[in-house]
């Protein structure tokens, strides 16, 4: 009864909801990619269109990497998941910085278009996804697709 549980031994097994969420975000991002590139192209020209594509690719890579890291660490240990999430934040920020530094002087890149696309698509895709997630969490019986949004999974100690 008084068995002590170590936080290092706790793990969250089962389905990985963050992978589902990020896959959904990436799918929507790819759908709206041409529209975003056209809008950026109208505002900033051809360089803006290419920059918007690059910005969107960075945002989608960021979501995918975050989900992959969490879904890899959570079944091993919750403590590892916490560490991976925090250092993953630094890693992903570093990767985005590196990608932008590498292309900052390239002729086909417009930095204002790239920056604005990163912010707008990151927030826009999140709010788009939030509509479905919020509905499925608040009203599980009314969730849009029960298979697509698992609201619970078993946590277990290995």
């Amino acid at each position: 009864m008084n068995e002590k549980l170590s936080p290092l031994a706790l793990a969250s097994a089962g389905q990985a909801p963050e992978v589902t969420v990020s896959r959904d975000i990436i799918r929507r991002g790819l759908i709206i990619a041409p529209l975003i590139m056209v809008i950026a192209g109208v505002i900033w020209g051809l360089t803006g269109a290419w920059s918007a594509g690059l910005g969107l690719a960075l945002v989608l890579m960021n979501f995918g990497l975050a989900a992959a890291l969490i879904s890899w660490a959570a079944p091993i240990s919750l403590a590892l998941m916490m560490g991976v999430t925090l250092f993953g934040f630094l890693l992903r920020l570093g990767l985005i910085s590196l990608a932008v530094f590498l292309v900052r002087d390239v002729s086909w890149v417009s930095l204002p278009a790239l920056g604005i696309t990163i912010i707008v698509t990151h927030l826009g895709l999140l709010f788009w996804e939030m509509r479905f997630i919020a509905a499925s969490l608040a009203f599980p019986g009314l969730r849009p697709n029960a298979q697509e949004y698992p609201s619970s999974s078993a946590a277990e100690t290995p």
């Binding site: 959570a74 910085s97 990163i118 990151h122 997630i133 969490l137 946590a155």
Partner: protein, 90 residues
């Protein structure tokens, strides 16, 4: 302090001063913008781990909310980063 400012002003042209100020501001913008989300993500994930340990059957819901929370918090760091690249390179 005033002497240092006069010395800097004497040594540098206004354009150089402006460039230096922009570089310093860009560095502060990026650094400060990364600190806040770092603290926020740490707090968010810590509380999520606590919630999953207390109520394992809700782990899926907690992880979904945690992932979205991380992404929203990270948006602040991205805004800081974009301000940085615009100040520094644009």
């Amino acid at each position: 302090m005033e002497a240092i400012a006069q010395l800097i002003a004497a040594e540098m042209t206004p354009a150089e001063l402006k460039n230096n100020a922009a570089a310093a501001s860009a560095g502060y913008a990026y650094g400060l913008a990364a600190i806040g989300p770092g603290i926020g993500i740490g707090y968010l994930v810590g509380k999520s781990v606590e919630a999953m340990a207390r109520q394992p059957e809700a782990a899926g819901m907690v992880r979904t909310t945690m992932f979205l929370g991380i992404a929203f918090t990270e948006a602040l760091a991205l805004i800081g980063f974009v301000v940085f690249i615009l100040l520094k390179f644009a």
